[in-house]
Each structure stands twice: as C-alpha cells, then as structure tokens.
Amino acid sequence: MSAAVLPTSSGGGRELSNPPSDGISNLRFSNHSDHLLVSSWDKTVRLYDASANVLKGEFMHGGPVLDCCFHDDFSGFSASADNTVRRFVFGTGKEDILGRHEAPVRCVEYSYAAGQVITGSWDKTLKCWDPRGASGPDRTLVGTYPQPERVYSLSLVGHRLVVATAGRHVNVYDLRNMSQPEQRRESSLKYQTRCVRCYPNGTGFALSSVEGRVAMEFFDLSEAGQSKKYAFKCHRKSEAGKDTVYPVNAIAFHPIYGTFATGGCDGYVNVWDGNNKKRLYQYSKYPTSIAALSFSRDGRLLAVASSYTFEEGDTPHEPDAIFVRNVNEVEVKPKPKALPAPPP
C-alpha cells in the first residue's frame, strides 16, 4: 500500500482554499476520484480537487443549495431552497433544471442501481427523476411519493432507500417498487432526527438526533434482527453534574471498514465501531459545528465541513471552512473485543 500523497496535515487537516462564503450544507467525495462536491448556503455548488486543493468549478443557483451529489465524475445534481433540482456538468459548465418541488428541496441522492435521482423536500414529498430523458420537469419526473412530514434526510444503499422526516417518521422504500414504503417506522430516538445513513453492508441504518444520540437500526424486522438494535449517547459535554447535549448533524461510513464517523454541533468528530459498540477515535475540536462529513472512495481521506449550522439562530460564528484530513488506520479500523493486537 502506498503512503498517502498528502503532506502531514496539522490539527484538523488541510484547509481547502476558496471555501464557500456562507454555511456549508453538505459535501461529498466522488466515487471515482478525489473530487469533492460542496453545496452551500451562498447559493453555489463547488467542485474541488481535494488532493490538489484546487477549486475546479462553481455553479450558481437561485437560492441556497441544501444538498448535492455526484452522478459520475463529470456531473452532479443539487437540491436548492429555490425549489429546484438541478443537474450540472463540470467540464462544459452547463447546467439545467431537472425538476421542481413545491417547497425547498432538502436532500438529493443518485441511485446507480435504479439510474434515478431521488429528492426529498419540505413539501412532504419524495420525487424520483430520470436524468437520461430530455430536459424539462414533465419529461424527467418518474414519480411523486407523499411523506407523512417534511423530509429531513435520505440515504440509499443498493435498492433500499431510507427517508427520515420531521415528526420522527422513518420510511424505508424498495426502489423497485416505490408505490408503498417497505416499512413505516418511527425513530427510536425521542428527539428530532438530524441525519440518517445506511450501513455500507445494507443491513440497516444509523439515525442521529438533536439530543446527542445515535440509534443503530436494522431492516430485518424479525425478533433476531431487532434484538441487535441499540442507541448510544454522544457529542455531549459534562460540566459540574450537568450534561450539555449537542445535535449530531452528520454521519459518514468508512467505505472499507464499515466503521462510521459522526459530527456534532460541539465541533468534534468521533469515529465509532458500531459492531463492537466502541468509540475508536476522537479528532481534535474543529472551530465550529460540524455540518457534514464524507470519506473518500478509498477511505483515506475524510472531508469535514466546519460550518455553523444555526442551532442557536443568527449569531456571530467562526468562518465556514472545509478540512480534508488523512485517515490513519488506527482511527478507523474496528477493534473487536477479545482479540490479540493485530500485527503492525
């Protein structure tokens, strides 16, 4: 295995130059390279080469961009607060509107399995779009699926789609049959859902709330399957007998090890081993709340969006920054309980 190409980074990692000028809503590594797609409240979607620390492209939108995702290494999709779902091509700089919702679009995902773009919006619907067709919302919309409440987070794995909404509803869909949710669930956490992410092995999903807690859930509804589920507290601060509890904004799974990182409003990123129920590592504190996390395709880089998420309303805050850090094996490798130390 070759050593990491990046120079040793200090503290929280290397800070990307030309970050967005307002809050960062999400960031994602590409599945094909070290390109990083960043969506921001400054109405732009930016494409960076994270290794080279170069801004490669920028797309302006009509309103704050709340989510973004890659299509392939050359194009991507975005969800904006101006109710549009857009598609853009990096090389040519072209962009067009794939479709619209009735209210700001909060989440966007691209399913390679189904070849469709899936968006969730505060208009309480989920929409599927086919980007291969001609342009225009009437041509590209595949279906609209009503949700019990405003959509807050989405995650895909294989053919499964998990939708988390306000009111702590969780719907699980099979992309091959979207007419009905496969499962209608309620979040096992008692507080508002912040983020949901499916396990890379497709057996379940992790759900985080505003109350410094993460729940580990499983799709298998049998007794055996449900016996594995649990929840744990995290991103809390204990002072003089009182706990201060922070929302957990982001969850990202390591593509290889299956361990995951969480980021909270306390500015910390923790890495957990879900199977062994252990915390593996805590990175040093970032300047402000963690808004988003993403591992690169080979798991060697972790992109951290240190960007105030307005949990306390409109107050002065640290500037928004993106840090890209090298990931050491010791930080992310699972630690099974009673095994001897692995060979160096």
Partner: protein, 642 residues
C-alpha cells in the same frame, strides 16, 4: 384685289405680252391648232387664276391669324384680369383706337405682357404669403396638418385673396405668439414646481421635449408639446399636494409628540419651517426644496426619533412601576413564585412588541391590588415579624447556651447576659405567640377565603412546622436529660467499680447536635437567614459523625444521629461527581436508553441525571411546530397548522 405698284405692273404687262407673243410665235411654228391654242390659253388663264386664288387664300388666312392672335391676346388679358379680379377695361380701349389688325396686334401685345407681369407679381406675392403660412403651420402643427389647402390657386389671384391670405397669416402669427407664451408660462410654472419639490427642472423639461431645453431658437409649440407640458404640470401638482399632505401629517404628529413630552422651544424652532406650513394650501408653499424628498425624509426621521423617545420614556415608566410593585410585594412578603405572565409582558415591553401604555395600565392595576392586599395583611405581618424575631432570639440563645465562655469576663459579656435574660423571657412567650398567630391566621384565611402566604410559603404550615420542631426538641431534651441521669448512674457504678469518673461535660458537648433552628419552610427558599437546609444538616451531622471518636456511647449516639436526620423521603440527594454509577440504573428518569435489550451502553462519559439540551429550543418557532435548523435558517414556515 390690291393694286400692284404701276411700275411693276407695266413691266409685267410687257412681260406678259411678250410672253404671249412669244408663245404665239412658238405655236405658229409648231402649228398648234386653234382649239389647242385656246385650250392652252385657257389652261394658262386657269392656272393663273389658280395662283391668284391661292395667294388670296393665303392672305385671308394670315388675316384670320392676325385676328386670332388679337383675339387670343384679348382673351388672355381678359383671363388674367378675371383671375386678378380686375375689370377687363383695357380690351375695349384698343379696339377703338387701332386701325389695322397689325396695328391692333402690335398695340395689344405690350399690354398683354404687362398683364402677364402683373399676374406673375401677384402670384409671387401670394406665394410668399402662402409660404409664410406654411412655415408657421409647420411650426405650430407639425403633425399632419393638411397643407394642401394652402396651395396657391392659379385662379384666385385677386387683391381680396391677397388680403385674405395676409389676414390668415396674421392670425397664424398671433396664434404662434400665443402658443409660445403658453409654453413659456407652462415652463415657468413647471420651474417653480420643480423648485419646491426639489426636482431637476432641466430633466423634467427634456422628458417632455428635449428641444425645449435649448435656449433661444424656435420652441416647439405643437399641441402635443403643450399637452405634455400641461400633464407634466398636473402630475407635479399632484405630487406637490401629496407631499404637502404628508408633510402636514408629519407636522401635526410632531406637534402632538412635542406636547406630550414638553419639548423645549429651542428644539421646536428647528422645525419651525415645517410647522408654520401646517395649514397652508397648495399654492402657498413656494420655497425651494420645501417639499423635496430629502426634506420630507428629514422630518420623518425626526418624528421617528421623537416616537422612539416617547417609547423609551414609556418603557422607563413601566420599569419604574414594575419596581414599585415588586417593592410593595416584597414588603408584604407577597413574593409570588414565577409570575411568568407578567415577566413575559415586561419582556415584550423591552423588545418593543407590546404597547407600553397597555402594560402600564395592567401594572397600575396590579399595584393597587397589591397595596390593598398589603394593607389587609399588615396586622398579621406585624405579628409574624415579632414571632420571627423571637425565633431568632431563641436560636441565638441556644447558640449562647452552648458557648462555654459565656460566663467568662469579656467585653460584651454583661450585654450578652442581659440579652440572654430577655431572650429567655421572650422564648417562654413564643408558644403563646404561635397559638395566637395560628388563630388569627385561620380567621384571616377564612375571611379572605385564601391562604396566607409568607414569602411563598403558607404561614400555617410554617407555624405547624415550628411547633412540631419545638415538640421534637422538647422530646430530645427530655431524652437527653434521662440520658444524663442514666450516665451519671453508670459512672457512679463504674466509679464504684474502677474508682474514676469521666467528666460528664465532655460527652455532652459531643452529643449535642445542631437543630435546624427556627421554623422550617417547606419549599426551602434561598436566602433564609437562620435556615440550614436538610442536606446541610445531614452534612454537618455527617461531619459530626466523623469527628466522633468511638467511646462506649457510640451505639447510643448512632441512634441519636439517626433520628436527627429527618430527611424528607424522595428528596434529591446531591450527587458528588465521584459517585460511581451504572448507566442503566442512573438513567431511570432519563426515559429511553437502549432499546430492546438492557445491555450496557457505551462507556462514554460519566452520567448525571440532569441533562440540558444545547440550545435546541425547538419551542422558539411558532408553537406546536417543530422546525429543523435549516428550516429556520431558510425562513421556511408552514402556512397551515399541520
């Protein structure tokens, strides 16, 4: 037949004769027959006749031509005369004077020429006038005025026509002058309006018509221009009226506010120019920029400033009243716990959401209610004060009694002695006081139908507690006395056995425990003077326990100690941070923990029962509606309640 000149005719005769003779000779020679000769002679004659006839015709014809020419000339002259509107006098004149036709013609031609010339002159005249008319018309009515009617008509060249046209021209010139005057007037009005309103005159004019701005030169006086000028003037008049009204409104508001807040005159003078116009009519306001946008904004800002001043004064007033209310309540020991409603009201006033005058009214009402309440409690409160003072003395006395050095000669010893004496008598009176107070309180409560609350606690319960405490103390003391007796016996017995007597005083000191002196108040209020909270007493007795060196009385002591801690059941025990805890048990009050199995959760941090959610105050937004941070940041609000 005209007579040829005789010489010529003679010549001709001879020629004619000789020719004939010659002919005759020829014929003789030839031998023409007589008939032939006659025929030829006849032919000759005929031919000659023919020639003569032709010449005569020619002459006739030229005569006719002449006549025709004359007639033409006459006709033309007549035509010209008629065109020019003059009587055809001259025609007859020549007819009589002239002799031959040629003479006539010769005479008439010059006249014709003259007439032609005159006609031309006249025509030119008319053309000139017509041209001028056209010019003016173009100026005045440039848009498609039918100019064809002004063409010079060949058939109308009379003097009258000239006069007509001249008259027309003059009218038009007058009209032009009129229009010009009008335009100038309008421009003048426009100028004065622009001045008052603080608008750019030149710009306004160029909006109407760019040409008008050029100084000198021809001004466009078309209907269109005039119309546009009038409408521009109208518009500006409207604006002026609007602004004037607005300014007058502002001025009257300003006067009201000045009145309300007794603004000093110097300040008022600054806006003299505004208030003096408060009742002016439209045409009376003429100073430059009197109604300009900037000026109005300036006045608006001043009004705003005054209103804010008024608001802040109101706020001050509200705060003052509030503190007054609090003072009254405090003095009457009416402190209400968590009066959230009024707190919100105060906050609303602070932020400016609520109308201070409304809140003021409410506070006034509350103040008077509080005053009344305080008055009704006066009597009771006096008694309570007395009682509390007595209790204080009681506790002081207890303290004093415990003080070993109280009899030693010192500075305040004699004073202390005196005080102790007084305290003792006072203490003896306490039960009676309490009894009386209880009776009075019950009566008061019955009358008012309300509990008598003292600093948030029901007085009767305070009294009860005190009585209970007292009883307990009494029991303690009794037990203590019995104890000592027993002790004494024991010691005597011991002494009998071992021959020494340990000092009774030493043990006694150790055994005395701190009573929580004074009445206990059920919800323990902070800042109580002679109070020691339950947990504290637990702590102190804890300390006592620790300092206790085990003597043979430890068993008894432990017994005592056990009873001194009447810890209220289920009251919280303040956990020290070093308390080990199993996560599961601890969090029984923290709703959900692990779902499904009770497996131990991640050992992450030390747990404590109280958790505070960091700023996730979801109650901020419209009630009953949960919003995410992103929704709040984007200003997204659900219109209908879900």
């Amino acid at each position: 037949m005209a007579k040829l000149p005789s010489q010529q005719s003679l010549q001709m005769e001879s020629t004619h004769g000789s020719l004939l003779h010659e002919l005759k000779i020829i014929w003789d020679e030839v031998g023409e027959s007589e008939a032939e000769r006659n025929k030829m002679l006849l032919e000759l004659e005929q031919e000659c006749l023919e020639l003569y006839r032709r010449k005569v015709d020619q002459a006739n014809r030229s005569k006719a031509q002449l006549r025709q020419a004359i007639a033409d000339a006459e006709a033309e002259i007549a035509a010209i005369c008629s065109a020019m509107g003059e009587p055809p006098v001259h025609v007859w004149q020549w007819n009589q004077n002239a002799g031959s036709l040629k003479e006539e013609l010769k005479a008439i031609i010059p006249h014709l020429e003259e007439m032609k010339k005159r006609k031309n002159d006249r025509k030119n005249q008319i053309l000139e006038v017509v041209e001028q008319i056209r010019e003016i018309l173009i100026e005045i009515r440039p848009t498609g005025y039918d100019l064809s009617t002004v063409a010079a008509d060949e058939s109308a060249l009379s003097v009258r026509r000239v006069e007509e046209l001249r008259g027309q021209l003059q009218l038009l010139q007058e009209e032009k002058a009129d229009r010009l005057r009008k335009v100038m007037d309008h421009l003048h009005t426009l100028n004065s309006l622009c001045l008052v309103l603080g608008k750019d005159f030149k710009q306004m004019v160029s909006e109407v018509d760019p040409n008008l701005n050029e100084t000198g030169g021809c001004k466009n006086t078309s209907d269109d221009t005039i119309e546009r000028l009038t409408s521009a003037i109208q518009r500006l008049r409207d604006i002026k009226r609007q602004r004037m009204e607005k300014l007058q409104d502002l001025a009257s508001t300003m006067l009201e506010l000045w009145n309300l807040m007794d603004t000093p005159t110097e300040e008022q003078l600054n806006f003299q120019n505004v208030t003096c116009n408060i009742a002016a009519s439209e045409h009376e306001i003429t100073e430059p920029d009197a109604l300009s946008v900037d000026f109005i904004k300036h006045v608006e800002a001043e009004v705003l400033r005054l209103e804010e001043l008024k608001n802040s004064k109101m706020k001050e007033l509200v705060l003052r009243k509030k503190s007054e209310l609090e003072e009254i309540r405090r003095r009457a020991h009416l402190v209400a716990e968590g009066d959230t409603e009024t707190e919100f009201a105060y906050e609303a006033v602070e932020t400016g959401d609520a109308d201070p005058s409304l809140i003021l009214g409410q506070i006034e009402f509350q103040v008077s209610a509080a005053k009344e309440e305080a008055f009704s409690r006066k009597d009771m409160l006096e008694r309570v004060e007395k009682w509390l003072a007595a209790c204080e003395e009681e506790s002081w006395l207890e303290e004093y009694n415990r003080d070993e050095s109280r009899y030693s000669a010192g500075r305040g010893t004699h004073l202390a002695l005196k005080r102790a004496e007084k305290a003792r008598t006072l203490v003896s009176k306490i039960p009676a006081m309490v009894e009386a107070l209880s009776v009075k309180t019950t009566a008061w409560e019955k009358e008012r139908g309300n509990e008598f609350i003292y600093d948030g606690v029901r007085l009767l319960s305070m009294l009860e507690d005190y009585t209970t405490m007292r009883q307990e103390k009494e029991q303690e003391r009794k037990r203590h006395r019995d104890q000592r007796r027993l002790q004494g016996q024991l010691i005597a017995a011991q002494e009998a056995l071992f021959g020494s007597k340990p000092s009774p005083l030493k043990n006694m000191k150790k055994v005395t425990r701190t009573f929580s002196s004074g009445p206990s108040r059920r919800p323990s209020t902070p800042g109580a003077t002679s109070q020691s909270d339950m947990p504290q007493s637990a702590k102190s007795s804890h300390a006592h326990r620790k300092s206790d060196d085990g003597s043979g009385l430890s068993a008894v002591r432990r017994d005592l100690d056990a009873t001194t801690m009447p810890r209220k059941p289920f009251s919280p025990v303040v956990s020290d941070s070093n308390m080990p805890s199993t996560p599961t048990k601890r969090n029984s009050d923290n709703a959900e923990e692990e779902i499904g199995t009770r497996k131990s959760c991640m050992k992450i941090e030390a747990n404590a029962p109280v958790s505070v959610i960091c700023q996730a105050e979801v109650i901020d937004m419209p009630k009953d509606m949960e919003y995410s941070f992103e929704e709040r940041r984007a200003g997204f609000v659900i219109k209908s309640s879900s």
